[in-house]
């Protein structure tokens, strides 16, 4: 008990009675004194980033501190309760609650309006067909690519145009990053511990873009997969980093697709020994060349599927045994069926396509419609706001 004289009138001397060492220089504030005040400040991002980094809870880049107030604002856009579980993420079987998704999304630099997109993307990667346990743990550098379609993609201004796979847009940069931080912190995909990629990939920082539906001469991805054009969807694919296909000279669909096929038909990809999906992102100019030649998406898929071949002696060098059923005439088909060729249109002016191989037979892309709790399609992220 201390002997310090205190003014009992305010009633806070009870704190002195409850504390054993209140006299140890502690600056106790008096609630009744107008001159005393407590000021709450945001944590120092530099200090906190370093602290989280040392605990292996970041991707190495600085983070925004996930304070309670920020988390509350994000949860408002979830359309769900704080403790609702969206998925259980491998390998550590971590519960991806709305709160934990919000925390990691804040850290990634997202704005609250992105919450529905991230939640649905987390739900999509947890689908058994996506094989997140394998995708996360593999030595292969497969990353999670998130493709947005529908009105919400436009509402949050995701970049589907010039530089859509590069820097410069908050949605592209932070939604993919939020996905990665969720995988790291909720799932335990810490490099070298739960994520065993031999080298990893820059795509593991963020890999998210929208489809340029207005410049697409064919039906967009979500419509092709049975959703309505005015529905918003996220499609997740396990992919290598994209590889460019520069073709400025082809005037016919066949010539242009041959350049794409030649770029795609390589021995070192997973598809060369365990054929699977492959993403083809055509720039609007390339898409126009092919469409003007009278080709539809089905034609493209069939042509690429039939002609993207790797010599068996080179293809059969991967981690898993090549099933002879994929070999014809000494060549391996890198896709199992035409539908494995996933075609989207994105990018700005220029005559380029990007191709990205999948994780072979070990992961299938999943498209998830953004729907409210009662199952009705959401046309705006504000529909989720309580």
């Amino acid at each position: 008990m201390n002997n310090k004289k205190v003014d009992n009138a305010c009633g806070c001397s009870i704190e002195d009675l409850l504390k054993e060492n209140a006299e140890d220089g502690e600056q106790r504030l008096c609630k009744a004194a107008e001159s005393d005040m407590e000021v709450y400040v945001d944590p120092d991002p530099e200090k906190l980033s370093y602290e989280f980094y040392m605990k292996k809870q970041t991707d190495g880049l600085p983070i925004i501190p996930p304070t309670g107030e920020r988390v509350r604002r994000f949860i408002e856009f979830s359309g769900k309760n704080r403790d609702d579980i969206i998925a259980v993420l491998p390998p550590r079987s971590g519960k991806a609650t709305v709160e934990k998704i919000a925390v990691n999304s804040i850290m990634a630099g997202c704005i609250p309006q992105f919450m529905p997109v991230i939640q649905h993307s987390i739900k999509a990667v947890s689908h058994p067909n996506f094989n997140l346990p394998g995708v996360t743990a593999t030595t292969h550098p497969v990353a999670v690519c998130t493709i947005l379609n529908g009105p919400i993609a436009g509402e949050i201004s995701i970049n589907s145009g010039a530089g859509c796979l590069g820097p410069g847009n908050i949605a592209n940069a932070t939604i993919g990053r939020a996905m990665r931080l969720c995988l790291i912190n909720i799932g335990g995909a810490v490099p070298g511990i739960g994520d065993h990629a031999t080298m990893g990939s820059p795509s593991k920082y963020s890999y998210c873009f929208g489809e340029a539906e207005n410049e697409n001469p064919w039906e967009p991805l979500h419509v092709e997969r049975g959703f309505k054009a005015d529905e918003s969807t996220v499609t997740v694919m396990g992919l290598d980093s994209p590889h460019n296909v520069n073709d400025h000279r082809s005037k016919t669909a066949e010539d242009l697709l041959d350049t794409i096929i030649d770029t795609a038909s390589v021995a070192g990809c997973n598809n060369s020994h365990v054929p699977g999906e492959m993403l083809v992102i055509m720039s609007p100019e390339h898409a126009k060349t092919v469409a003007d030649d009278g080709w539809n998406k089905k034609d493209i898929k069939k042509y690429i599927h039939e002609n993207a071949l790797v010599p068996v002696e080179l293809g059969d060098r991967g981690g898993r045994k090549l099933d002879p059923k994929w070999v014809t005439g000494g060549k391996v088909q890198i896709t199992r069926k035409p539908e494995d060729v996933v075609v989207v249109v994105a990018g700005g002016p220029g005559r380029h396509t990007m191709i990205a191989h999948g994780f072979g037979t070990s992961s299938e892309s999943v498209t998830e419609a953004m729907r409210l709790a009662d199952g009705t399609p959401a046309s705006s992220v504000f529909d989720f706001k309580k």
């Binding site: 001159s35 906190l48 996360t136 743990a137 365990v274 070990s362």
Partner: protein, 171 residues
């Protein structure tokens, strides 16, 4: 005037984990038949052949994917024995699915022994633990396995076989 500056609290980004304990099926005292569950990784067949020769029991070979889970049919096939020995986890996705398929078999009542390379042993154990299968039988083989000559792999397998025999109480 006294001012106290307090940093706002931040919320932990780590997710809580879900753990349901899995009962590990004891190895039976008498083993008549063993299924050799081969994930087709390079030299998995060599390791399993060496184990089979050494144990000299009736065996059946079953194949499964490396980077993904076994199909129900493959799992059922592997479960048609008194014990299943699964090889080989020498990378991230294949170690994952050696362990997860072993757990699926244990849940079906089939005792298992998983073979993983020493480089992936810590991960294999932590994965088993995160699925409530702390005591899952996992034996080690010296990394690397892929890209190695058969003779070299057989030499490495000799140490693994000793461990397997211990688990099976065979001298």
């Amino acid at each position: 005037m006294r001012v106290k500056v307090i940093e706002k609290e931040v919320i932990d980004p780590l997710g809580e984990t879900v753990v349901d304990k899995i009962k590990i099926i004891p190895v039976p005292s008498k083993i008549n038949k063993i299924s050799y569950f081969n994930n087709t990784k390079p030299n998995a067949d060599v390791i399993l052949a060496a184990v089979a020769e050494s144990l000299n029991k009736e065996g059946k070979n079953v194949e499964k994917p490396a980077g993904a889970g076994a199909t129900e049919e493959q799992l059922k096939d592997a479960a048609g024995a008194d014990l299943s020995i699964i090889a080989v986890g020498d990378c991230g996705s294949c170690s994952t699915w050696v362990i997860l398929d072993a757990i699926r078999l244990e849940k079906e009542g089939i005792p298992t022994i998983s073979i993983c390379s020493d480089n992936f042993m810590d991960y294999a154990r932590s994965l088993a633990k995160s699925h409530g299968a702390d005591d899952l039988r996992i034996v080690e083989i010296k990394h690397p396995i892929s890209g190695q000559e058969e003779e070299n792999v057989r030499e490495k397998a000799a140490e693994t076989i000793k461990e397997i025999k211990k688990l099976l109480n065979i001298d």
